[in-house]
């Protein structure tokens, strides 16, 4: 019994923080300023600390939550995502007049869902977690009620998300029908017993689950909602969605497909490989044609999902460790990029067109440098986190013999550098005429940016510690 509640502590920390911020909002008098974001930071710090303390203990919670190192690593990534999101949000909330308490509560609740999703070992619990995080994120997308694009984005996101949830649930039902269980371990055991039969029901279940996950990680051809939702949501929420949701969904994806459906890897590897190629190619090629920075980064995040899929189809320990490292590197980098967009925006003007960045170097040299670093990291240039992440992912692919995937991934990443560079060109090499002078940047936001840049360089130059941790997190998967 000792381990039963331990595994839930990270989630409980964040849940308490979420509840506390709702309470604080309820008792706040109009016009009072309360450090509600601070509550969230405390909760997330608690989650991260408890995750560190649980490290290597393999705590179990009621047989459906496993605080194994894999889940804990993702928990820490999610805590980092949450902290950065909250730090970027403080200025945006004040500027855009967003409802403070609700905003933070929703962010925290969705993080609860994400952590649950990353640590769940039961298909139904994964489903519940998916719904918790999705509902919160749908609302966050439309948190600016007066914003037409935001409402439209939330509506699209909600409809398609509900659709994909149905697929996912259907997949769970099929899995239950074949194996008589929804626990991943039992499913895996039952499937490996009948792996030789080639039961078509298993393939149907596999396909339905794949569709459900593909929606959440916005893999081609289920990516349609992504550009619209990312463009319509406030930039800081987009940053949160594109990193947190993706990390959680990938963690569950890897867990389900590698541990439960591992025996059928011969069946799903070709399909997922094809999806990975399509995702990388479409994400980068369409990204080239965008003129809105948010939309461009949406396509870039689709492409990054493709790279992560490459790590998955390697079906080996290096691949899983690479996914974990990549999730961390990508989350920090992408959040930094969206952080810059969010901080530069204004209430009536999102400032997310490519032209809006013309001459940013002259008006905000520090911000331009931070943006350039995060874009180069997204493009995978050394000495940044993105390079180590790409190197790790593709070394997993190579060690599994997928040279073709590695080459395609590398070439698409060169194409992606082209559109990242377009932003750099705008910032550094275009004249500032016509671009409105952006508002001053708050200290908290700058601190968060500085933090993420330090992290990007740390992960890019001295990645050993984190790489070792990631490698130590894959034990339970196979």
């Amino acid at each position: 019994m000792g381990g039963t509640f331990d595994a839930l502590v990270p989630m409980l920390c964040v849940t308490l923080a979420a509840l506390a911020s709702m309470w604080a909002e309820a008792f706040r008098r109009e016009g009072d300023r309360m450090p509600i974001g601070g509550l969230g930071l405390v909760g997330l710090a608690g989650a991260a600390i408890s995750a560190v303390l649980l490290w290597d203990r393999n705590a179990e919670g009621f047989g459906v939550i496993a605080a194994d190192n894999f889940g804990l690593f993702v928990t820490i990534v999610l805590a980092v995502v949450g902290v950065l999101t909250i730090l970027f949000s403080s200025q945006v909330i004040r500027r855009d007049g967003l409802p403070v308490g609700e905003y933070y509560a929703l962010v925290l609740f969705s993080i609860v869902g994400m952590i649950m999703m990353a640590t769940a070992t039961d298909l139904l619990v994964i489903f519940v977690a998916l719904e918790i995080l999705s509902l919160a994120v749908y609302v966050l997308t439309a948190i600016r009620r007066d914003s037409l694009p935001g409402t439209e984005a939330a509506f699209k996101y909600f409809l398609l998300g509900a659709f994909s949830s149905a697929f996912f649930l259907y997949g769970i039902a099929f899995t239950y029908g074949v194996t008589g269980s929804t626990r991943l371990a039992a499913v895996g055991a039952s499937l490996s017993a009948q792996a030789a039969d080639g039961n078509p029901m298993v393939l149907a279940a596999l396909g339905l689950l794949l569709v459900g996950f593909a929606f959440k990680i916005s893999a081609v051809p289920f990516h349609m909602w992504t550009p619209d939702a990312y463009e319509g949501a406030p930039a800081v929420v987009t940053g949160f969605m594109s990193t947190g949701v993706k990390a959680a969904a990938f963690a569950a994806f890897a867990r389900v497909f590698l541990s439960a459906y591992g025996p059928f890897s011969d069946d799903w590897v070709p399909v997922v490989s094809a999806v990975a190629v399509a995702t990388m190619v479409l994400g980068t090629v369409v990204g080239v044609a965008q003129s809105s920075l948010k939309r461009m980064l949406a396509y870039s995040s689709i492409a990054h999902g493709g790279y992560l899929l490459v790590g998955l189809v390697a079906v080996n320990e290096v691949g899983v460790a690479a996914i974990l490292f990549y999730l961390l590197a990508y989350s920090v980098t992408n959040l930094a990029a969206f952080g810059v967009i969010a901080l530069l925006g204004q209430r009536d003007q999102p400032n997310d067109g490519l032209r809006d960045y013309a001459g940013l170097w002259h008006s905000h040299p520090a911000l331009a440098a931070l943006m350039a670093v995060s874009l180069l990291s997204l493009g995978g240039l050394p000495p940044t986190a993105g390079f180590i992440g790409k190197w790790y992912i593709f070394s997993a692919a190579v060690s599994a013999g997928h040279y073709g995937l590695a080459v395609i991934g590398m070439l698409t990443s060169v194409i992606s550098v082209f559109f990242y560079l377009r932003v750099v060109v705008m910032m550094y090499m275009a004249s500032r005429e016509g671009a409105a002078a952006p508002a001053p940047i708050g200290r908290v936001g700058m601190a968060a940016l500085a933090l993420s840049i330090v992290a990007i360089f740390y992960l890019g130059m001295l990645p050993t510690r984190v790489l070792d941790l990631a490698a130590a997190s894959v034990g339970g998967m196979f």
């Binding site: 050394p382 070394s395 060169v414 560079l421 750099v424 060109v425 090499m429 790489l467």
Partner: protein
């Protein structure tokens, strides 16, 4: 000490970055500080040369610290005779590049100096890395400062040129990264541990089929950088649009990273595949020699002319490497140094003219000898050096590469010889049109001759060109053992294969015997 050689400019760059430039009021101080840092780095590279033991073929001044132990990645640096002088060349050209931009770069001086110093750090890092991962990090990191240098401080079409440069080089190098990963994986299959250590990978036995793929991946990355015909199309754009300092560094050092990569990595790592492809690569090199020369001849723009002449000159280097005998490779390395000095000098002086007249068209000049005799003299020395006049630096390299190629496949040398003649034609013709005769444009009548600052940047280049031509032994001696070792490694593996299957392609047998024809001192 090797760490210092790249960490010093990098630390200088970071320090400058943190200093405020007071909206340009402190530009003068920043210029001097950057120059001081680059001179200190040059001093470090010279100290490395002094500390270098010339008789040994081993890697020296080796430093090795585990970096990412789980994958066998070390911070592993060291130099041998091949990389030594390239490091010194880098240290030598950077202060000159800074001097060349003393007056022509007036906006954002701080950032300019920061990028140039960061570029120096990355280039030195490329030459001293003995770990493939570390090498790749420097190799790719180098693109970023160069991109900014071209894109911000270049001429009219700078953005196009900068992006083209970046994408072209990256496209090649990512394939190399896949091959590097593949090598590390093969090493783990053979020995159980990953390793990116060059020395360990040298000993790895790679199946011929795999060698073909890996060699091609490495080759494309390096061929783009050299650039070898037909991968050269980024070069005229980048060279012409880059600011003078960028052109000096591009032509002087950056291109050598490609040929250095061939000598250090592509040929020794995959000797069998290299043997198969060498004649084809040599063919491309020879085509490049003639093509570059012909295209250079018809350029109306001086900078473009010099850019195309680089394509031609680098062809000789590649030809010498393909020969894979001591003369060829030694000549190739020597030619790399010589070309760095002479083409750096050409870009420097063309940059001076362009600063004065804001045009680089040959037709806009004429009879400059009458108003700027000193500049003309300097240009003449560099021109003659560039076309391979005996007693100047270009001659030794070209002679040795052609000698090496002659011992290997004489038919290439006949065509390459044509390139030598053509190079004399286009260079001297340009010289004649720009400097000799009567002054054709009135505005040229008042052009000032070399200033003191320009003196300081031109004289060392001319001096080195002359010294390299008269005392080639000073430069050839330290590289000889290292070159012999590379050649020996490549040839011995090839010989094994020829022994194994006697019916192998004839030229391989020929190539394997080539070093036997010459007494090799050891």
């Amino acid at each position: 000490m090797l760490t210092l050689s790249w960490a010093l400019p990098l630390a200088g760059a970071v320090a400058l970055l943190l200093v405020g430039d007071g909206d340009g009021r402190r530009d003068g101080m920043i210029r001097w500080a950057a120059l001081g840092i680059s001179l200190a780095s040059f001093a470090v590279t010279l100290a490395i040369w002094l500390a270098f033991e010339p008789g040994s073929a081993e890697f020296q001044l080796v430093e090795r610290v585990p970096w990412i132990p789980a994958f066998g990645i070390d911070y592993h640096v060291g130099i041998d005779g091949i990389s030594l002088l390239l490091v010194v060349l880098t240290g030598f050209l950077t202060p000159i590049a800074l001097l060349s931009s003393w007056e022509s770069v007036t906006k954002k001086v701080k950032e300019f100096s920061v990028f140039l110093l960061a570029l120096e750090a990355a280039m030195i890092g490329v030459f001293i890395s003995l770990d493939l991962f570390l090498f790749y990090v420097f190799w790719d990191a180098m693109l970023i400062p160069m991109y900014f240098l071209i894109g911000i401080w270049g001429y009219d079409r700078r953005i196009y040129a900068a992006i083209k440069f970046m994408l072209y080089t990256m496209a090649g190098s990512v394939l190399m990264l896949v091959a590097i990963l593949g090598l590390a994986y093969l090493h783990s299959q053979a020995t159980g541990v990953y390793s990116f250590d060059l020395l360990r990978l040298y000993t790895l036995e790679i199946a011929p089929a795999a060698q073909q793929w890996f060699f091609l991946a490495f080759f494309v990355a390096f061929a783009i950088k050299v650039p070898l015909f037909p991968f050269h199309t980024w070069l005229p754009d980048a060279h012409v649009q880059a600011p003078t300092a960028g052109s000096i560094i591009l032509a002087g050092v950056l291109l050598k990273m490609g040929t250095y990569g061939l000598v250090r990595f592509a040929f020794p790592l995959f000797p069998l595949a290299a043997a198969d492809y060498a004649p084809w690569i040599a063919l491309l090199a020879v085509v490049g020699i003639v093509y570059g020369a012909l295209v250079a001849m018809v350029q109306p723009d001086m900078k473009k002319l010099v850019a195309y002449s680089s394509v031609s000159h680098l062809g000789f280097v590649v030809l010498g490497i393909c020969a894979m005998n001591v003369q060829g490779v030694q000549g190739a390395v020597y030619q790399m140094l010589a070309h760095g000095v002479s083409t750096g000098g050409l870009f420097l002086i063309v940059g001076m003219l362009s600063d004065r007249r804001h045009t680089r068209l040959i037709a806009e000049f004429g009879g400059l000898r009458n108003v700027m005799p000193r500049l003309t003299a300097a240009f003449l020395i560099i021109t003659l050096a560039s076309i391979g006049m005996p007693a100047l630096n270009g001659f030794v390299g070209e002679f040795l590469t052609m000698l090496g190629a002659y011992l290997w496949m004489p038919q290439f040398v006949i065509v390459a010889g044509l390139g030598v003649i053509l190079s004399a034609v286009y260079m001297l013709w340009m010289f004649q049109r720009v400097y000799l005769g009567e002054i054709t444009h009135e505005e040229n009548r008042t052009l000032p001759d070399l200033t003191a600052r320009e003196w300081v940047s031109v004289v060392p280049l001319c001096a080195v060109a002359i010294v390299m031509g008269i005392f080639p032994g000073v430069f050839l001696a330290p590289m000889e053992p290292a070159v012999e070792r590379v050649v020996e490694r490549v040839q011995s593996v090839r010989a094994l294969r020829v022994d194994g299957s006697l019916g192998a392609v004839p030229f391989e047998a020929e190539a394997a015997q080539a070093p036997g024809d010459e007494p090799v001192e050891r």
